[in-house]
């Protein structure tokens, strides 16, 4: 019997997973709303994939609960959770044709041959795979295989889609295109998406919400804009944004016992400023210029829009820190403190 959630909200309560004495996921509580596109973002080894796998049912939590809809699913097999998963490696069945791959979840569930062929055809059409239905995965490009993996997931019409870095094996151009396709797919389907990535661009462009993780714990949950504009910790501040936020030690910028963060685009070159520094590197990227310097021992980056105003390496420049753009963090906990 397949359990089907009417509402596909996902609720994680104090979820912990310990591998060999090390907590890969440490007391994470997270509410993912119905039809949300939640991004689990963090560096390698932060526990985001483990968290996703616990939602999918591929890992058992050491403690804590996973609920889909209003039902606790800890003890429910993956196949009965109404969750589909797209793997980083795609995990297509190499000996089956594209059609057979897409149909397979329906076949296992005992859907009749004609019906599953029809549904597979629809899923394939949605993802532009119609002309490849008779091919084997080995005869497809990376992007096409990726789409087959997606088709195999959507054909089941699952309540929750779990995706584990599904774009990381694609080249940059294809990744950009597929990002847009996934956003469109999310808009079309009535499913909740939970998407794991270490790529902040994917997080910022695709998610309705982002959960930033570090060392098995949640650092911050919010919309991409919130996470960017009001990072809750030094980690989030420096993980999101390219180049990362400058964080200066206590006492350099303002006279309070706090760490001061400021994004490179908000830092200004100001000849009258008292904070003096020497330019160590200038990178001209076309649409912007990055000026690297050091304030004391701390490296800082200034982002300028134009090439014309850029100083040269070795120039002595002043830096000004507009107060409205400052982010203040507690030096002991690295958490945000409001001004």
């Amino acid at each position: 019997m397949s359990y089907c959630a009417a509402v596909a909200a996902v609720r994680l309560s104090s979820l912990t997973k310990v591998f060999d004495g090390v907590a890969a996921v440490d007391d994470v509580s997270l509410d993912i709303a119905d039809h949300d596109f939640m991004i689990l973002l963090g560096p390698s080894g932060c526990g985001k994939s483990t968290l996703l796998r616990m939602i999918a049912g591929l890992e058992d939590p050491t403690s804590g609960d996973v609920a889909i809809g209003d039902v606790r699913v800890n003890d429910i097999e993956p196949k009965q959770r109404d969750v589909a998963m797209v793997f980083q490696s795609y995990a297509l069945y190499p000996h089956k044709t594209v059609q057979a791959n897409i149909e397979f979840p329906l076949k296992v569930r005992g859907v009749s041959k004609t019906e599953r062929a029809e549904q597979a055809r629809q899923a394939a059409a949605t993802l532009g795979l119609t002309e490849y239905l008779d091919r084997k995965p080995g005869q497809l490009s990376g992007g096409q295989r990726q789409r087959v993996a997606l088709a195999r997931a959507i054909v089941r019409r699952p309540a929750v889609f779990c995706m584990d870095e599904p774009l990381s094996n694609l080249d940059a151009k294809l990744r950009g295109e597929t990002r847009a396709e996934l956003v469109a797919l999310h808009a079309r389907l009535a499913s909740t998406f939970v998407y794991v990535t270490h790529d902040q661009v994917e997080a910022m462009t695709m998610g309705t919400h982002v959960a930033v993780m570090s060392r098995g714990r949640l650092e911050q949950v919010g919309t991409p804009q919130e996470v960017y504009a009001r990072p809750a910790s030094v980690f989030v501040a420096q993980f999101i944004g390219t180049p990362p936020m400058n964080v200066l030690p206590v006492g350099v910028v303002i006279d309070r016992p706090v760490l001061v963060g400021i994004r490179p685009e908000h830092l200004e070159l100001d000849p009258t400023s008292q904070v003096r520094t020497t330019v160590t590197l200038v990178e001209h990227l076309g649409h912007e210029t990055l000026v690297h310097a050091r304030v004391g021992e701390t490296p800082v980056v200034v982002r300028l829009d134009a090439i014309e105003d850029a100083p040269s390496v070795g120039d002595d420049v002043g830096l000004s820190f507009p107060e409205r753009h400052l982010h203040l963090f507690d030096p002991a906990t690295s958490r945000r403190v409001d001004a």
């Binding site: 196949k79 589909a84 995990a91 000996h95």
Partner: protein, 276 residues
Amino acid sequence: MATSTMPRGWRLAGRYTLLIALAIVVLFPIWVMLVGAFKPGNKVLQNPLLPTHVTLDTLREAWRDGNLGRALVNSTIVALIVTVAQVVTAVLSAYAFAFLRFPGRTFVFGVFLATLLVPFEATVVVNRSTVQDLGWLNSYQGLAVPFLATAFGTFLVRQVFLTLPKDLREAARMDGLGHLGFLREVAVPLARPTLGALALFGFLSTWNQYLWPTTISTDDDWNTVQSGLRALAQAQIDKPNLVIAGTVIVALPIFVILLVFQRQLVRGLTAGAVKG
């Protein structure tokens, strides 16, 4: 690439000369066997390399005197039982060792592999007495049961299963497959070349068994092809080419099988891994 200055034609000629020489070494005994089998007994030592006085009488005589029809049937039945059982047991045990986590898995697998170090000759006496105690002398179960599972098969199939990506197992789990479903739908189809090779080896090695059938068949009706040939040689000691003719008869099915399945055999041994 060799940077030989020899012209291409000479290199080819050299290569083919070598290949032809090797082919002669391999084919010479088979030729002698065929020539001997198609000659009457009293001519077999005259021009042993030339097919003079061609006749089918020797083959007929060997078939009749060696009771080879019955031996062929016995061998076929035993070889089929052993082949099917070896593939099934290898697949199931290999799956457990490759995909299931259970306490002592490594140790048990080590014990499995260690049995490869024990030559069959070392166990034949014990096996004979066991089979005798079970009352299985002169029976198909006596001929087949000691060979229903092999550590080699388990090892071979496990190696192939280990090359299957973990994601594939998990994708199948998400799709709703349990262990047997995954085995049937994914693991076995992907291991097919290796299973084919394993089946072929199982069949050939059973067909070619000599020591075991001679040990437990005391009745000529339970001869397999090899023990049948031995019986023929002992009974017709004055007609050496009867045994030669008998050898041709029992080699023929193997010959056909190899011709049909040689592609499978080579692929199973060389490929092993699965292309993604």
